[in-house]
Symmetry: none
Subunit: 199 residues, 4 copies
DNA sequence: AATGAATGAGCATTCATTCAT
DNA sequence: TATGAATGAATGCTCATTCAT
């Protein structure tokens, strides 16, 4: 593939991720995609075979692009095991700003047809194993309850951060809009940490 | 409106809730809707004005149809304050079986266009106030951490149950399929209760 | 037919004439018709068999309802033969105000499908014969050119008044808007009379 | 735009002029249009944006395509000022054979919605100014009445020729079918000329 | 590699007409 | 007589995809 072709392909992919994540598969039109990427519609078919082929590729790309944890957060957690929950939560929350497409693509994928799911890459084991070590250590130190498994722990933190972002619209209306100010988020993180910690 | 018309209208609404929640607004086609409800397409326009009018009505109906808590659960929680978290979680989890459309409509609404959101009915205050009383009592009894607000507490439980259902597909693949067996769910509920409780 | 039925029928007919003449056959929708007449759509089919049946009836009714000349104008023309052209023109012009539907139905009929034309009633001979007498007298008196037939004369006057009304929109734009003020019309009538008269 | 596209566009336009002028805006269906032009329906939207966009373009095209007077007629009128009325009338009458769509589009436009009217091109001034010179000269020569303005004169001739063509159907039935034979037309032209001329 | 032109199936919506009460 | 409910065939317009250059 020539350099020009590679650029075109990546341009399409980048644009498509933005639009698919915003409007979903059925809400996205190939024409809009082409216009937004300022390329000829036909290129999409040349490089991705079909609309749904492009969607699958977007999904994969988004998933692969997401690094759940960066080195800095890892170090911080290692140094202060008592702040583990807070650090993970904050990290997860921050993920949304850095990868605004991730949550939405996740949501679309969970709602829409299964076909695209098959191509979803398995999650990186190493992210979890590193976290698990930190968790185990915190348990040993008596900072986290011994009776709770790592899976439940991490599930809860993922749930809180995902729910926070994915249901912002309806929660703003039905629970409280203050939750989505930066103070609201800080309060949520702090209290969650306390709630989970061994008192 | 004649009896026949009422039946037709309700038939459309019921069918539409099923299909909209399954495929979302853009993924649903009026023709399919009409065929599934075995009615003439035109009736949709006669009774709901437009596809989006029908969607809004579905959303409202689903929201109004959901009773977050029933009397039995309330009584159980009052009798055994130590089991409050478990009862709420189990209740939320059960909601999905009883109202399989609720979570999905919620998700679509959060993802798709805002316009339908405007018509969303405000949440019933009384459900929350009753829960808050139970929460306050548990705190007083030293069963739940004093430093955590009711909002954070309930948010976490909603998050866990919502995330569990809404992300089943991707979590099965990326975290663990066992989580979605009935034992897996029981384990999650039990451990969450422990995790949150004052140890 | 009962009194109530007669009233309903006439109500439909009257309303339909207004709407058909305004929008033509294809531009008129049965639903609008029913709503405008505040009757049930089905009545149209009961009384007129079909949309096109109603249109035909409207056409006939409008044609029959138009009296080309009233007695007063006739008397005036008899008393002042020199003003014949002016009187006829003014009378024709006035017709439009009195029967605003006539010209438009005429136009629609000339443009649209022939089928409705068949049911058009033949023109009243007597209107023409009375006019012809007046014309002949004016010719004898040397007021109108002897070499011009009655048909040409009356055709010209009909043409001027018809054209004036039917092409108002485009003429306003392409010829002159002043033509359609009341002074403009007076000027047109006066000059036409002079132009045709023997000088 | 590629040659192929230009051809398709022009094919659509030509076909549409024929059908719109025949059946009017509401009487014309996009499907018929596409079928008649043997093109894909979508092309209409690609090139003209909408049905009404196409109609407007048809109107404009027809108007621009009409040359009210050709050089030959102009010369003839200059050489024989006494025949001016006859020449103009004959020229106007001939217009219909050459531009059969012109009168009908004019009529539809006058009857149907105003929106398309806005895009109507202003009439060519020069056609009128050339005619006015001829008219003025005829007046000076005493061939046409001095008391009649050019506007009234030309209005009458336009009216006669328009009315002759646009009301053929109803006039055949209500006035005289002979009028529409070629002798009938000749007679009309001749007598009108005489009628208007100074005797 | 890239683009403009073209296509056929599909889509939300409307319409004239008939049915049932 | 009158009305609300229902229908099937349009109707204007769009979409994902393919063709030709």
């Amino acid at each position: 593939m020539q350099q020009r072709a590679i650029e075109t392909r990546e341009n399409i992919l980048k644009t498509a991720i933005g639009i698919f994540s915003e409007r979903g598969y059925h809400g996205t039109k190939v024409d809009q995609l082409a216009k937004a990427a300022a390329i000829n519609k036909q290129r999409i078919y040349a490089y991705f075979h079909s609309k749904s082929g492009l969607f699958d590729q977007c999904l994969t790309t988004v998933f692969e692009g997401v690094k759940l944890f960066d080195a800095k957060a890892m170090t911080a957690a290692r140094l202060e095991p008592s702040r583990l929950t807070e650090i993970i939560l904050r990290e997860y929350m921050a993920l949304h700003k850095k990868h605004p497409y991730f949550w939405r693509m996740l949501a679309w994928t969970n709602l829409e047809d299964d076909s695209s799911l098959k191509k979803l890459p398995g999650l990186k084991e190493k992210d979890y194993t590193a976290l698990k070590e930190l968790f185990d250590k915190a348990v040993e130190l008596g900072l986290l309850p011994r009776s709770v498994s790592f899976e439940t722990y991490i599930f809860t933190l993922m749930a809180v951060s995902y729910f926070y972002h994915s249901n912002r619209k309806t929660l703003s209306k039905t629970l409280s809009p203050e939750l989505f100010t930066s103070q609201g988020m800080e309060k949520l993180i702090a209290e969650c940490s306390l709630m989970i910690a061994v008192q």
